[in-house]
């Protein structure tokens, strides 16, 4: 039996004559974990969609176990042993775990108890601690991921493809996921996974393939890579000095105190939280998941509400404010760029221009009876240019964009409101390194222009690289403040967990 379970030879896929992947040779070994990395738009998703039968090759060949194969649908791919776990999981949220596992394999007469027992046995065999009778919508991200994996294994998948599997997971869930993947590997399943977190590729993968502009740049053992080599292969230039690499030697001086949060409470997440934000500075907020950072700033932006009784004060430029909905906050110059762009950030089936224009309209609720197509088109084109959004045109739908470009649209939607306080919540989550550099440059530019910028991030190098002052949040309140000049990863992490 050949060591190669899946291969692609000179694989090319054209969309309207434009190559998404071009002459890509790829080999997946039996029982290996293979990481696929590259900037957004590098062709990773297209390559894996070819394997999973979502799209078909324009030219080139695919082989499974040495035999030519060209799955035309995901069902055909599943029948030949290739399953894909998508970033947005494909489970039916209103069904139970067991029903989801056996979806598509129903018989004429289905006994619910039998399905539950079979699912229980199967999940136990995989050592997955998920109750088969639980409704999927009530599960956490990691458990949903487990159900997806279980479904793939149940269908006797020999190859499982994960698209950004850890983007929605907490650090604890991520560790658990790594254990699952290693367990699958022991069972002889071959894994391909796409990730923007390069450390994950380095830790988890046996081999790494780097794609750039639809072409394969390099495939090598993971042990022969380090972060700098991957980044250089991904972007074609050395970004180590611009991306997190440089230790800050100067910080911007604090300007006017524009936002003061005093003893803010929102049970159970925000507990007596107090902090200030100054103009002309980037205030970084670090904390582990559940530290109440997002909730605190969602309250500031009117997305969430503080406690009804003794909920604390939010003082915006010497004036106490209490926003019950986001519109008055937007009008007062507060912009919140969400961490969950797919759910809260944009309307994915509408155009870039429309999304950006909606941001502008949000500043004038009820004040504009007539919409201007010309203004919409002009503002869309303007922001595409200003933020270097890579798209066919301003009428391109947001769903068609890569993660980094989608994030730029979300940012444009907020910046068009000309805010004074901009809150970025995990601004580079699920964004490729090239776009990360651009987003970081934008954030720095905003602070240089005198805006008060807040960056909430769980990624320490990002916090250290961007912030002028760093506030560490733990258990619902800020517990420590560092200047970027004397902050280290160790000090910050110590404050976050002790």
């Amino acid at each position: 039996m050949s060591d190669i379970i899946l291969s692609l030879e000179r694989a090319t896929k054209l969309y309207s004559g434009v190559p998404a992947i071009e002459d890509v040779d790829f080999e997946l070994r039996r029982g290996e974990i293979h990481a696929l990395v590259g900037e957004n738009g590098a062709g990773k998703s297209t390559l894996t969609k070819v394997m999973a039968g979502v799209v078909t090759l324009t030219t080139g060949a695919m082989k499974i176990d040495g035999a030519a194969s060209a799955p035309g649908t995901p069902l055909e791919a599943r029948q030949i042993g290739v399953a894909m776990v998508f970033q947005e999981n494909s489970l039916v949220p209103t069904m139970t775990v067991a029903q989801n596992l056996f979806l598509g394999q129903e018989r004429f007469y289905n006994r619910l108890r039998g399905i539950n027992i079979a699912a229980q046995q199967f999940l136990q065999s995989l050592n997955f601690d998920v109750p088969p009778t639980a409704i999927v919508s009530g599960l956490g991200a990691a458990k949903k991921q487990m159900v997806e994996i279980a479904r793939a294994v149940l269908h006797n998948a020999k190859v499982i493809i994960f698209d950004e599997p850890t983007a929605a997971l907490t650090p604890e869930e991520r560790k658990y996921f790594f254990d699952l993947v290693r367990d699958l590997k022991k069972r002889g399943v071959s894994i391909i996974f796409i990730s923007h977190a390069l450390e994950e590729a380095l830790i988890l993968a046996d081999r790494i393939t780097v794609l750039r502009d639809g072409k394969k740049i390099v495939t090598d053992d993971a042990t022969r890579f380090d972060r700098a080599r991957i980044v250089q292969a991904m972007v074609g230039r050395d970004l180590s000095n611009t991306l997190y690499g440089v230790k800050r030697t100067t910080v911007r001086p604090a300007g006017e105190r524009v936002l003061t949060i005093q003893n803010l409470k929102m049970a159970p997440m925000v507990k007596n939280n107090s902090l200030s934000v100054f103009a002309g500075q980037i205030t970084g907020i670090f904390g582990l998941v559940g530290a109440g950072r997002t909730e605190t700033f969602k309250i500031v932006a009117g997305v969430m509400k503080r406690d009804f009784f003794h909920g604390g004060d939010i003082i915006l430029r010497d004036k106490a404010v209490r926003y019950r909905v986001p519109a008055p906050a937007v009008k007062a110059g507060v912009a919140y760029v969400t961490e969950d762009r797919k759910v809260e950030g944009f309307f994915e089936t509408t155009s870039i221009a429309r999304n950006v224009y909606l941001g502008l309209l949000a500043k004038f609720p009820g004040k504009r009876a007539l919409l201007s197509r010309r203004e919409q088109s002009a503002s869309g084109a303007d922001w595409i240019k200003r933020l270097n959004v890579r798209a066919i045109g301003n009428e391109a739908k947001v769903i068609e964009l890569s993660g980094g470009n989608q994030q730029k649209v979300v940012i444009a939607k907020s910046l068009i409101q000309e805010p004074d306080i901009i809150i970025f919540d995990e601004p580079t989550r699920g964004v490729d390194v090239g776009a990360i550099v651009e987003i970081h440059e934008l954030i720095n530019r905003l602070a240089d222009e005198g805006k008060a910028v807040v960056v909430i991030s769980s990624y320490l190098p990002e916090i250290l690289g961007l912030s002028d002052r760093i506030l560490v949040s733990r258990q619902g309140k800020v517990v420590e403040e560092f200047s970027a000049l004397d902050a280290t990863e160790e000090k910050i992490m110590y404050a976050a967990i002790h």
Partner: protein, 365 residues
């Protein structure tokens, strides 16, 4: 009636005027232990105020007026009553306030008789003096009902009888620049304005000669006190205590305050103090907090030490602290002379000094 209903609703919901919140110590007010590392120049009986002409530094210690030299104080003269405020005047003169009620101006610190004396005009607790041009003084009168050392009573009574005064040395006239202040405690001339600390409102105001005032710094997490000019521009603002939610709560409970003041020894009231940790009977020492499953001793600070450096536009640049576990608390005066910043920590009754060079670099936010 609607006002009453509104107040009840706000009090019930803990909103508006009735919020029990205090600003945080962050940014330029980020805590450090700078005051704990300051050199202790002198331990005194009752240090109250400092003044400088840029070279010599004068100290009011109880009823004694002295001059700081290398390692101690040289007594210049003794008064029959304690000094509550001190100012050095252009041309070598000095002004003192005795027992908060009488201001005396001496053309020279060693002169036997004063060149001008101010009494009456309702002066009750003059606690700060500052030159206002060549022939005048700014003064703050903390309370019309309480003596200078009874500030805690004034806080608990929610006093609002403080005044900012201008004393004309030539004519002997006293002009009230501002009234109804909630404990005025600190004055300094600033480009024709009088810079006044209003302690119980946690703010600095600039009062024009015609009495018009504007807030120049507010929302402080502390009770500000005396203010003095910094040589390179801007000011040194002292704060004798930090605000806490517990005290804010007590201040909103008139019945509780009334009973506390009637029945409890003032030493053990729930009020800020200039020093703490002397007795187990002190409030705010017995609380605890459960963190990560471990019960830890915890209490809001009863005393604190803080000096804030303000720039020329009254924006805090950095601050010097003595935290709850420190000793140099109750900072009531700070003046800059030569390369040093001299301070009075009234809690431990000390005169401290810190080299100014490097402070901005080390403690800037």
């Amino acid at each position: 009636m609607f006002g009453g209903l509104r107040d009840f609703a706000l009090s019930f919901l803990g909103r508006g005027e009735a919020t029990l919140t205090v600003p945080s110590f962050d940014g330029a007010l980020k805590p450090n232990q700078a005051l704990e590392s300051a050199e202790t120049l002198l331990e005194c009986d009752a240090p109250e105020d400092l003044a400088t002409d840029g070279g010599k530094v004068y100290l009011a210690d109880g009823a004694s007026l002295g001059r700081l030299d290398g390692n101690g104080m040289t007594t210049i003269r003794e008064f029959d009553r304690p000094i509550t405020a001190l100012a050095s005047l252009p041309g070598g003169g000095i002004a003192v306030t005795l027992n908060g009620r009488e201001v005396r101006v001496y053309s020279d610190a060693a002169d036997a008789t004063p060149s001008a004396t101010f009494q009456g005009a309702g002066m009750h607790s003059i606690n700060a003096l500052a030159p206002a041009g060549d022939h005048a003084l700014y003064a703050t009168d903390g309370s019309a009902t309480r003596n200078a050392d009874e500030w805690a009573w004034d806080l608990m009574e929610r006093g609002r009888s403080g005044r900012a005064l201008r004393l004309d040395i030539k004519t002997g006239g006293i002009t009230e620049l501002a009234g109804n202040l909630r404990y005025a405690f600190g004055a300094c001339g600033a480009d024709g304005f009088a810079l006044i600390s209003e302690s119980w409102r946690h703010r600095l105001i600039a009062v024009a000669p015609n009495g018009a005032s504007k807030i120049v710094l507010s929302h402080l997490p502390v009770y500000p006190s005396r203010v003095s000019p910094a040589r390179s521009g801007g000011w040194w603002l002292t704060a004798f205590i930090a605000r806490t939610q517990l005290v804010e709560f007590v201040l909103r409970e008139p019945a509780y305050r009334k009973r506390m003041m009637a029945e409890i020894d003032p030493e053990y009231w729930i009020v800020p103090r200039l020093s703490s940790g002397k007795s187990f009977k002190e409030p705010m020492q017995g609380a605890h907090l459960k963190t990560m499953g471990v019960v830890k001793p915890w209490a809001p600070p009863r005393s604190y030490g803080l000096v804030i450096r303000l720039d020329a536009s009254f924006k805090p640049m950095f601050s010097l602290h003595s935290r709850v576990d420190g000793f140099n608390h109750g900072i009531v005066s700070a003046v800059e002379s030569g390369d040093w910043l001299y301070m009075i920590a009234k809690g431990p009754r000390r005169v401290l000094r810190l080299p100014i060079e490097g402070l901005a670099k080390e403690f800037a936010a």
